[in-house]
């Protein structure tokens, strides 16, 4: 029971962490609160629907490709011309991109929600250390955990990662040191596209459906988790997302059945309390000391 709960909580925490890193990365590098993040996710989910009769690994590859493609194209068409614009302008542009992609999807491919039957193996349960664990929960944990490890490696061990972290913290100074905007900004969108696509793969497997509006809730989770952890810290954002996911699972486990419908109300009330105590987020306090 405990192991099952842990797999479920850590898995959902890892999924939410992917969502929050995607939000915080673009906010740091570009000053962009990207409300089109959900639509990048939706596009990748749509690929899962299109490829529903194909082998699952192939569908995942296509979903990642489409997620990255939509992210990069949105950068080129909408955000590149607006580089240097104030955050409000960028945010409004991201609303426009979000609504445009959603409208195109609704008018063409997804006028209503479409079912995507989960792979049979995902509905199985396997015995693990004496506990019955859902394969779907293990997949969530495995995919999202692997993605987090990959992101940690990229950010911590590669030159591009160091440049991305520096740019996310202080773009002007990073630029003064020779970090190229034309490298780090598209790279950030590629990372965001991959993260959104992996999140989409997991969400489609969990929900069994794809719709034009499906990106809204994950995007909100990404924003809330990033605010909780600290918008200017990628580690903080990941922590915020992880805690949000783990707390969601915990509340589902401990709340009485008739109160589960109010899970989000309880969760976000707690979030308000946290933000009253630490308005800058959990990990945004790592500022440079001046003296």
């Amino acid at each position: 029971m405990i192991l099952e709960f842990l797999v479920s909580a850590i898995g959902l925490g890892a999924l939410y962490a992917l969502l929050t890193i995607g939000v915080a990365l673009l906010f740091g590098v570009l000053g962009l609160m990207n409300f089109a993040y959900g639509e990048i996710l939706m596009a990748a989910a749509f690929a899962m629907y299109l490829m529903r009769d194909q082998p699952w690994p192939l569908a995942v590859v296509v979903a990642v490709a489409l997620g990255v493609g939509v992210a990069v194209v949105s950068e080129k068409l909408a955000f590149h011309p607006l580089r240097g614009a104030d955050p409000v302008t960028l945010m409004i542009a991201s609303f426009a991109v979000s609504l445009a992609i959603q409208s195109v999807a609704r008018m063409s491919f997804l006028p209503r929600a479409q079912g995507v039957s989960p792979e049979p193996f995902l509905s199985q349960r396997i015995s693990l250390a004496g506990a019955e664990v859902s394969v779907l929960d293990l997949l969530t944990l495995g995919l999202c955990g692997s993605a987090l490890v990959a992101v940690a490696f990229l950010m911590g061990r590669t030159s591009l990662g160091i440049q991305l972290r520096a740019a996310a913290e202080n773009f002007q100074m990073a630029r003064n040191l020779g970090v190229k905007p034309d490298l780090v900004i598209p790279a950030a969108f590629v990372v965001v596209g991959v993260l959104a696509a992996i999140s989409a793969v997991v969400l489609v497997a969990r929900q069994g459906a794809v719709s034009a509006e499906m990106g809204l809730q994950p995007m909100l989770i990404g924003v809330v988790g990033a605010v909780l952890g600290g918008m200017t810290s990628l580690k903080g954002a990941a922590l915020g997302g992880f805690l949000l996911g783990a707390a969601t699972t915990l509340l589902e486990a401990v709340l009485p059945t008739d109160l589960i419908a109010f899970r989000d109300a309880v969760l976000f009330s707690a979030l308000i309390v946290v933000l009253v105590v630490r308005p800058q987020g959990l990990l945004s306090g790592a500022k440079v000391r001046v003296s």
Binding site: S159, I162, Q163, R165, A166, E169, N170, Q172, M173, A174, R175, N176, L177, G178, V179, K180, S233, L234, K235, A286, K287, V288, R289, V290, S291
Partner: protein
Amino acid sequence: MVLQITDAYVQYGASVMAVQGCTLHVDEGELVSLIGQNGAGKSTLVKAVMGMVPLHRGSVTFDGAPVTHRSFSTVRNRISYVPEDRGVFASLSVGENLRLGGITRKDKRALAADIERELERFPVLAKYWSRGASLLSGGEQQQLAIARGLLLNPRLLLLDEPTLGLAPIIVDLIFDVVAQLRADGMTILLVEQNAVRSLEISDRSYVLQAPGRVLGSGTPAELGAVPAVVDYLGFSPADVEVSR
């Protein structure tokens, strides 16, 4: 001439003029200091060189070529700017901050040797190589910022208030390092409020008075002959013992 600023005006908003008609130059291998009190426009002028604030009027040339919006990316690769707030990346380790300093360099082997050189110059950075930069003291951060700036192998080093708020022993260390860099032939523009120490080690100095006007320029002896400069500083630069 490495840097030439001619009749520069910088304006914040509709009415606040931060720099008014500044003209200065820095020759090859020179250490030139920009002296003045808070709000004199020193940092604003340096930011204008880096393209961080637009010139309202006037021009900047670097190595004889006008610095325009288009050419800033090229200029940035040849000028190391160590800002007043040090610009250290708190979320990166000391080592990662240093690696960023040489991010544009292709000669990775020479870069590794240069990092070793900076670690010898600032041993505290070797000691805290893996430590997060946010955990360093102000003096340690300043050493990191200067070392990182030097790893670009810059044509021009811009130091903006490098001793601001630091303990006297660190102030001595920073001025010693700057003097040594000058002796090694580096071209430096030093922005400082510590007029005496700056005059001691500089080839020439410019004295700025708010709002961004040059009161006088030259060697300490030449500045000492300008009554407005003597009045402004409260002492005669001619009395400063030059240590070069």
